[in-house]
Symmetry: C2
Subunit: 389 residues, 2 copies
């Protein structure tokens, strides 16, 4: 018996939702993490610390037995245990596993080949497990990925820019991470799919119930060609708290975050804040200052040191700072400008050009010679003049 359930039933269910290459010895670990993902709310640092100290299995055994966690785990967990115990009675992890199996979702835990390594930067706030629907192995593409997030109430401008840059990033081999919301998120996923790129959606609720429901078709297409991921078990409703915590997964799973349109207090600023805290590059796309949908982006640039990004190329450079494709113009020399300024259609002799340009005779002679070589001036019987193109 494991947590009051026949071990064979647990094993069968865990197998059903595990990646094909999963370690058979880890059934207990996988089940424990599935349970922890139901018992805790996302981002529970106490649970993270406890599991780091004694492991997910032993931590649960102690909690199940009503034992004091403090002695064994070397920390103070009594307040946290009071938080976890009300859930122990309600959470039905077998139901979560059955529902996951029914929807073809996989349970991915740290150490699995599919586990996105960037997530580990969340430390004790990392998720207990991820519930994943989609193409096996696609989370590996997150090594070269960019999160594109933004306003639900996006404008035509914002959606246009999103589509442009998302397909430009796909062309450069990046996977597009987002949150499947209306507006910018949806446009980013759609553009990635349209460009036959990889796209990953992180949800605030379970992967069995797509939110928003109007994006069910979109999310089904993401499942077919990419992945839909959540840290909460199937059947879990998306709540405001879970949206905010989901944002940290978007920031951590991708290499950089870009915000395209966001109101002054947009939820996208929360994702941006997570990216910033994690030390991930953060970009924001500017827009008209007359558009409230760009106010949050300008705020990120002004107050949070976000990089002003205006194209897929500049977004790619957030991750791989390449040599800028266009350097500053070398431009004409001051002397050249002044000599050209001093010429007219009619010819002028060197001393006149010197007087007009305020340069010495020698400087004027030397520059006229160079300009002549470049075909920009001609010497005529009446003196030097600009060459007619």
């Amino acid at each position: 018996m494991i947590a009051g359930v026949p071990a064979s039933e647990v094993a069968a269910l865990v197998r059903a939702v595990s990646p094909p290459e999963f370690d058979r010895d880890s059934i207990l670990e996988r089940f424990a993490r599935a349970r922890w993902s139901g018992i805790t709310e996302p981002g529970d640092g106490d649970a993270g610390r406890l599991i780091a100290a004694v492991g997910a299995v032993e931590a649960l055994e102690l909690l199940d037995a009503g034992a004091s966690l403090d002695d064994r785990a070397g920390g103070s967990y009594s307040a946290a245990a009071e938080r976890w115990r009300p859930r122990l009675a309600h959470v039905d992890s077998l139901l979560h596993l059955r529902q996951a199996a029914r929807f073809g979702a996989r349970l991915v835990i740290p150490g699995d080949e599919e586990w996105p390594t960037g997530i580990d930067d969340l430390g004790v706030h990392a998720p207990m497990a991820l519930w994943v629907r989609g193409v096996p192995g696609v989370l590996g593409a997150l090594d070269r990925s960019l999160a594109i997030v933004g306003a639900r109430a996006a404008t035509g401008y914002g959606e246009h820019v999103t589509i442009e840059v998302a397909s430009g990033l796909v062309d450069r081999g990046f996977a597009i991470v987002s949150g499947a919301a209306f507006g910018i998120d949806g446009a980013a996923h759609r553009a990635a799919l349209a460009s036959r790129g990889t796209t990953v959606a992180f949800l605030a609720g379970g992967v069995d119930r797509f939110y928003p429901s109007a994006h069910e078709t979109l999310l089904n297409r993401i499942v077919e060609h990419g992945a839909v991921v959540s840290e909460v078990p199937c059947g879990t409703a998306p709540t405001k708290w879970r949206f905010l915590q989901r944002n940290r997964l978007i920031a951590a799973a991708s290499r950089a975050t870009v915000v395209i349109e966001a109101g002054w207090r947009s939820g996208s600023l929360n994702t941006a804040g997570h990216a910033s805290q994690l030390g991930r590059p953060l970009g924001a796309v500017p827009g008209p200052v007359t558009s409230s949908a760009s106010a949050g982006c300008h705020r990120l640039i002004r107050e949070y040191d976000a990089v002003c990004v205006t194209s897929a190329q500049e977004m790619a450079e957030l991750i791989d700072p390449a040599t800028p494709s266009v350097g500053p113009a070398s431009g004409p020399t001051p002397t050249r400008t002044r000599v050209l300024d001093a010429l007219a259609r009619t010819g002028r002799d060197v001393s006149r050009v010197a007087a007009i340009s305020g340069l010495s005779l020698d400087e004027v002679r030397a520059e006229l010679g160079l300009l002549d070589l470049d075909g920009l001036v001609t010497e005529s019987p009446t003196g030097w003049r600009r060459a007619t193109p």
Copy 2:
């Protein structure tokens, strides 16, 4: 005789173009600077060094006499002297003074009450003198001024933003400095005049011939209510070199520079570069990334650390960093969010709320109490629920 001209004629002409309070002993100095402003091209650092060493009058006497400048001024000026001598024969400073008098222009030199102190930050590249048409004393307003520059080929968006912010800055007591060009410059001057503010235009050519000629009416209005300024004498044509040097005056005379719309290689970036070199605050207004007219602004933000500014208030803060009027939202606490997430229209008891929110019984009780005080929840016979507004 002064430079081959009867001293009385020189004195009368200098008086005609000097501020009423000018120092009568400085006639020679004023005439010397008027001549230097005709002999040199704007920004001539050698002339600046020479005059700093021996004064404008003696420097000219040496040059007139064909003497070696090197011995007397302690530096190497032979190359520079070769630049200046061709002009000595051509430049007619009396004509410049007569023309200035005819147009009601004043000759303003360092030390005059009108001399804009910010200009001195240009060091040896400061102008020899300024030729000024406009309201006496108006240059004093440059102590509290902002330069607004930008694309000649401005869009409706750029002109709209310029008008908004220029009048907002006038309302905050700032003078508006610009270059009287088409597009952003013109809009900035017009908006300042319309708001009965002070505005100053720096020209690349003489103040007797307005450029562009289509802005003659606008420039005449600026003369009436503000000032039109140039460092080159009357009769001097605007050349590309003089435009580039004029830009340094705009940057130096004002307390901060803001660029509103600029193409990728816009001349406004030159003004921005001068502001930056002078250590003046530099702002750029973002716009749609799809608009090439904003590409230069985005470049300034990305590559040259310009501050992203979106309103008159933010531009004013470039100069007077005030406490931000809107701080970051304190927002709801995580616990509050989670408890509210766990409530429904039907009542739920504390243990159910604890299980759903993943919080301890004590935490839930405490938060429900606070929410009750705020009128956000009610306790009903069936348990706690969200209050109906």
